[in-house]
Amino acid sequence: MNQIERFKAMVEMRFFDEACLEGVPTMEIHGELHTGIGQEAISAGLLGHLKNSDALVSTHRNHYHALIKGVNPYRLMSEIFEKKTGICQGFGGHMHPFSLKQNFSATGIVGQSLPVALGYAYAFKMRKEDSLAIGVIGDGAANHGTFHETLNIAGAWKLPLLVLVENNGYGISVPISKVLATETIAERAKSYSAWGKCVNGDDPDIVSEAVEEAVSHIRSNQGPAILEAVCNRFRGHYEGDTDHYRSKTEKQNMLKGDPITTYSKKLLSLKVLTENEIQNIFQTSKQKMFGLLKRVRGEKMPLPETALNYIFCEKTDG
């Protein structure tokens, strides 16, 4: 996967979430929304390393993971906008997208992505399939008991599991440094006989390299890996969060390090892209994503009379 594609992916992700933001003040998205804005480099670093059969289980902040895993952006955005054309017909919403075809799912409950990913990993190994499972978590989720239980099992049985930690420094308002016993999360790898590394999550090339390493460790049947990518959450925890717990200075400094800007400069200086090409990518991506938005907005919501469908798949009388 080359750098241009990584860059394009980042820009598309950003505009995808910016398009979603349009639905918040209008109440088209009527629950809280968590965007990945600022964290694009990590998902872009996954590009090219995953097979369709690999599983990815994500969190409340899942849009980018869905996109990188190949979920149809139109159907994803439709779901976020609670439309009948959504991948879950509007029943799931933005925190709970499911796509069996891509082995993609998510959960709104912190820490619970990992056991689900582990279940996939177990199945893959049991069936001697060459696939792996990625469980994505945030830094906050790394202190949840499932982190330990999952990695211990994966380590004991050498299951093909990658725990990808998007360390954006905060669990809502709580700085990870206040509630973590160690410097990094990845250093816990030894406790699970796992591969572990903590990298700069603002540069997709660095992330990609680390993913490469982790994935080849896993695919060569050596057991699980923890990849921690340090990044920033540009916006409040969710749309509506006043983010009053972070100082202005802290936020200003953070925004100076926009991974998209930084990466565009890198590609410019490496002469991989020209200023013009970069602008083109911005424009095309923006058009694409806001084009999706327009179409999504035209779609229908699920019919009220379907609200009691799908409680069970087999008929019951009770």
């Binding site: 609670e82 919403g93 308002s173 709580v174």
Partner: protein, 339 residues
């Protein structure tokens, strides 16, 4: 809203609760607050605002996302003489730490033969505000089924503060269910008692309120649905239907006497509950009524709750599964037409 002119402070539910916590923490240095984002942030709904700066991080502690453990910590804290208030951000997450709640917090007083007290409050935000299946649940029916726990579910703004104060002072464990809608709703738009005195006061746990007196139908409900019920009752009153509303305030203890008195008068009972319908609150209330009132003097018994379905994401679906102002009104009108 009739009281609007008397409202000198346009508080919301979270401010009323924060005030109770603040004042109780002032009065007893053993009272401490632990949970996610309860510190500098003041709680994601603001229900512990001002506490961190006043009492410091030892007594108002931001926890890592380790609910199972910090709930269990509350047990050790209580045994060591502290009086912990534990915030579990959303009721939906109770399943992560429920074991500690029902096997330790709810049982230790009993298991110890009365020797150990568990003066613990577990506070959590319940209810639907559009956040789909995993962030909209009430689950108070689940908790009420488990012995040894007092289950408090305030509705009026006045009760938010007064019941929280009582919960904190209680030597028994209390699960305190806030409703997200009420945490954010301001006094001027409350229909039930919106006046929150500045001084400390308590509302006793175990006594239902009767925010509306009426003679035709007894509507028993709790939490945010009390507000919906009041609005519906106001509307149907125009059509000559006189509804009596009972706000349960707590599920354990359950003030069934107040319910019975009302039903004996109206002979018509409607239970409205935002939790799932089956094996929950509505079944218990109705059963206690038929256990105590001669069936021949009961003309109608109905319930209206979430029809055993997860809360869907789309507004179009959500509206038909969660009891709302219109649906309650329709139930009342239908019942008034019946026997």
């Amino acid at each position: 809203m009739a009281n609007n002119d008397k409202i000198d402070r346009n508080l919301n539910g979270s401010e009323a609760i924060a005030e109770a916590i603040f004042q109780e923490m002032q009065q007893d240095e053993n009272t401490i607050l632990i949970g996610e984002d309860v510190g500098k942030c003041g709680g994601v709904f603001g229900a512990s605002r001002n506490c961190f700066s006043e009492f410091g991080e030892n007594r108002v502690r931001d926890m890592p996302i380790s609910e199972m453990t910090f709930t269990g910590m509350g047990v050790g804290m209580a045994m060591s003489g502290l009086r912990p208030i534990i915030e579990i951000m959303f009721a939906d997450f109770l399943g992560v730490c429920l074991e500690q709640i029902y096997n330790a917090i709810g049982k230790i007083h009993y298991m110890s033969g009365g020797a150990v007290k568990m003066p613990i409050v577990v506070k959590t935000a319940a209810g639907n505000i559009g956040s789909a299946a995993q962030h909209s649940q009430c689950l108070w029916g689940t908790l009420a089924h488990l012995p040894g726990l007092k289950i408090v579910v305030p509705s009026s703004l006045y009760d938010h503060k007064g019941l929280m104060a009582s919960a904190i002072r209680s030597n028994d464990p209390v699960i305190f269910f806030e409703h997200k809608e009420l945490l954010l709703k301001r006094a001027r738009s409350f229909l039930s008692n919106p006046i929150v005195p500045q001084n400390t006061y308590t509302v006793p746990i175990g006594k239902a309120a009767k925010p509306r007196i009426g003679s035709d139908i007894t509507l028993v409900t709790l939490s945010y649905s009390v507000e919906l019920a009041l609005k519906s009752a106001y509307e149907v009153a125009k059509e000559g239907i006189d509804v009596e509303i009972i706000d349960l305030r707590s599920l354990v203890p359950l003030d069934i006497e107040t319910v019975l008195q009302s039903v004996r008068k109206t002979q018509r009972l409607l239970v409205v509950d935002e939790d799932y319908q089956s094996f929950g609150v509505s079944g218990e209330i109705i059963t206690r009524v038929v256990e105590n009132i001669d069936p021949t003097s009961l003309r109608q018994i109905k319930r209206h709750a979430v029809p055993d379905v997860p809360i869907p994401a789309a507004l179009s679906l959500e509206q038909v599964v969660v009891p709302n102002y219109d649906s309650i009104k329709n139930m009342l009108i239908m019942m008034a037409k019946g026997p």
